[in-house]
Symmetry: D2
Subunit: 314 residues, 4 copies
């Protein structure tokens, strides 16, 4: 099960569709194999970048079943954020029965005050069961909700099943430092995995993050940056990351980013279609040309994934 | 099926739960009988005041089945607002198969620009099917989205299955006048039923609304105000409405209002429990005392529902 | 100076303009005389309903000068909310020099977490000076900011110059009860004056409010309701209030309400023009007819202000 | 005066304060000389990153006077965004009298519908005068307002004094392409200068932008990238830009970014203090170390500004 000791890269998986918008479950197997081959430590599905709200309940369960089965020993975390506790509980029960390692919950915008956020997570635990470990997703760019460090500490104190902070506040470096400082003053230590496209990954690792939970289309870079940082090879970690930064930045555009990510994964031969369900849309012709240009330049500048990158651009 | 000719009172039904928070389906029968006995012209379920997001898909379908079966010839409109099109389509298919007369859709906040809202409803039609009549719910107090009259006209023009405006903009009187003016200039005429607690109902009828789609705990007042206004007895309509206004105002408080409504329905003997699912909560002791006071005063001031009101306050 | 002992009605004054949109300073004298004649206990200017953001700094000071001079012994509270601390401090210094009794500050939307709101008010005190008493304006309908009771208590504890809560949360009755409960547990007692159009005034007084700070166009009603409630004549307070409620409700519409208020004040002969500066606008023809109707009915139902009300409707 | 032909780099100037938070007007001269020495084509002051809302009116005018006097022939654009039209008009009149080339206006959040945004800018023109050229600032990350291309076209059509789009939508590349496509179909051509930290500058120039209006602490890079792109040396433009991208990204963090920018400018010896007025704050110790690291790496990787960068890091 997911625990406070989680570290490394939990890749945020895309949800592959075919050209008609149906779930591509066979393609899902290939995608999971790819992620596993990149050396990730876990897989997170049905997050915001997994188009979770676009799936009906039965589809979500079917996708989770396929991923969990294919992932084998790799832990699978499932996003269960929902507008109400009953659907959240229903999805949680289903995926835990299938073998999910834990769930991830982003609170809705509009919660009232610090106490309102703490109370929300306590209600979540009541709904999903205190035995299901969960990651608190802190993503103000998506939901407009600021989660103070005070609130994180209170949730961790009152919800023993909160084992992870999915950190995507922005700016957020000092927040990681602040959480780790709280832990030195008695707060229970939790895992911190960073999202937000990984835009500050090497610095976030310096600040005390345990790894990344994001879905950049070159997971092997995320894995290697974590490895280098863990080995104390800071300059090399930055060098590798900075070689990818032009594309990381391009992929991290709100809304548009997922189309870029799916396009790159398709160009790399990993998914068959870059189809998104509405309201998502494929990238424009101009954007595709720019992404191809970035892939070309990435292939020239890095030895991480030259074959794939060159193939992508061909 | 729901059509542009819909008029009168489509009561927004509460969703009754028992004290443990389970759906009270037997109580649902009694509730629907009560609404029918008040003389309503239709019933709307699974709206925001129907705690729709708090129900899992299967629960929503079970509740809709029971209501539709009990309502008999009364048309039932079902709220199908959802964060994505797949769950919206799944619920729509299920309730249309059960005999729903139509559905109601509130767009999410955050749609971009006039074109973004129009496009959203076009996508809805694609998702639910062009043969399912729907009401466009315009409720900025709930979702922060302003829907200009230009947009309403464009949706009506491009979506033939849009047959109704559920109007709860606030302030909104001039908006009704503006929509009706558009219709005199060629826009297809649609039904306008007003929500927002009915706080301006007699004026809204003067402005051109066809009735109300709201859930005030004395539906018989809504029915009678519509009847009086339709008969040109304007002063009497206002007199009756104003006698209820102190309670209407009290019930229309955002968030807190549903607890008041359920409490009054319980006091009137119509539902067995005023339980709400979380994050809702019952009214405070002080609030209960104030509502009792308002019911007492209502019983003294009006001949509409004296028996029930006095019983409520006893 | 404004203190924790403030009570009664601090009327929110409109800002009168002539037909070209210039400040009507002579008309201001007549307006202030009218308010004083209604028996108010204080006057609040340059609030949101005083079109404060539409005035240049010099205009705001000129208006404050005129009001303070005319108000004589009546305390004048000045809204100094501003996007930054330097303009807030500049206006505060100017009006305190002119004799203002205190200032009112609404925080901006977007403050982060409970601590962010508390810190904001601490910064305000640093900017305006710890010797200037201020009212904390709690108005989420206007700025989207929820201010928890915890935050109010922390501001009161750390800012001795915070002497008043301008309460316009909605729903807000239980919040008044909660603040008063905190005071019984050691929080310094502050004055609570209610705004939000006074829509719940008699109940708010029951809950522990000390009076009203709102601008309903019949201030004499607000004064009399406070007097009756203070004398324990609860039913009479409600009777009088409920007679006005149809118009109170009409005037409390966000955005549109100020146009209604200015129209009524003009119809009553109190201000010469109901001009608003842009983006405000006069009421529509249909709205004017409805307000006239409400004034007619008010004149028939109440003895509070029959002469003015009848004149208004003539 | 500012015109549709504006191009190149209009640097967004910081507002230098001394350690007590007073305007550093002597330091302003040095800052403007630095910007001029970098080869910028214009200077923009009192934008969001110029801490405009934190200045009292008199301070804003004093700062504008100093900048305009020092800038000589370089055009100076002044941000005049304000919560109301009277203060906007007052500041505009003052700075135009001092010789400003034009003004920049960001609409407030909360405007209603496409027509509401168009009407807002028409009101602005009425307030500031049709003879004052202005830039429409499109910055949804700051104000939550999406401005559709339809609206931009309507503003340009109805407001001849709108000569520039300050583009900082995000994602925004396809928006530039869309505006330029409208121009090929009859829309009046306007200047497009990009902001948003310049995070996509080389691509934005490819898409049709005329330059940048942003405040990155190495203006010489922005100037050189524009020059290279203008000369068709695309790869070199990207190479130079990508060398700076790690720092550009770091500086573009909402809220925190200005502290980084002022810190770098201080490290480079250009401003004497990195003081911000509240609620701004200096960067943390950890952040300073990271910025120093980025400056070190920048000095090693680029020949653009090695001397300054090395000095900065020493």
């Amino acid at each position: 099960m997911l625990s406070e000791a989680a570290k490394g890269v939990f890749i945020i998986s895309v949800t592959p569709f075919d050209e008609r918008g149906s779930l591509d479950l066979d393609g899902t197997d290939r995608l999971i194999d790819f992620y596993a081959g990149c050396g990730v430590d876990g897989i997170t599905i049905l997050g915001m970048m997994g188009e979770a709200p676009k799936l009906a309940h039965e589809e979500a369960v079917a996708f989770a079943r396929r991923v969990i089965a294919r992932a084998g020993k790799l832990p699978v975390v499932v996003g269960v954020s929902a507008p109400g506790f009953a659907p959240m509980a229903a999805l949680t029960r289903a995926v835990v029965d299938l073998g999910a390692a834990g769930v991830m919950i982003a609170p809705p915008g509009g919660l009232k005050g610090d106490a309102g956020i703490v109370g929300y997570f306590q209600n979540c635990v009541e709904a999903i069961g205190a035995d299901v470990p969960f990651a608190l997703q802190d993503f103000p760019l998506a939901n407009g909700l600021h989660i103070p460090v005070d609130v994180i500490e209170a949730v961790v104190a009152t919800c023993p099943s909160c084992v992870m902070l999915k950190h995507e506040d922005w700016p957020g470096l000092d927040k990681i430092t602040a959480v780790r400082a709280r832990e030195r003053n008695g707060m229970r230590r939790i895992s911190i995995l960073v999202g937000n496209g990984g835009l500050f990954l090497p610095f976030e690792l310096d600040r005390g993050a345990d790894g990344a939970m994001t879905g950049y289309a070159f997971p092997e870079m995320l894995v290697e940056v974590c490895r280098l940082a863990g080995a104390g090879r800071r300059s090399e970690a930055h060098d590798l990351f900075d070689a990818h930064l032009p594309l990381v930045r391009y992929e991290q555009q709100p809304g548009a980013g997922l189309a870029v990510r799916k396009y790159v994964l398709k160009q790399r031969g990993i998914i068959a279609s870059d189809m998104q369900r509405k309201p998502g849309a494929r990238i424009s012709r101009e954007t595709a040309a720019e992404v191809d240009w970035l892939l070309d330049r990435l292939g020239e500048s890095t030895a991480t994934a030259p074959a794939q990158a060159r193939r992508a651009a061909s």
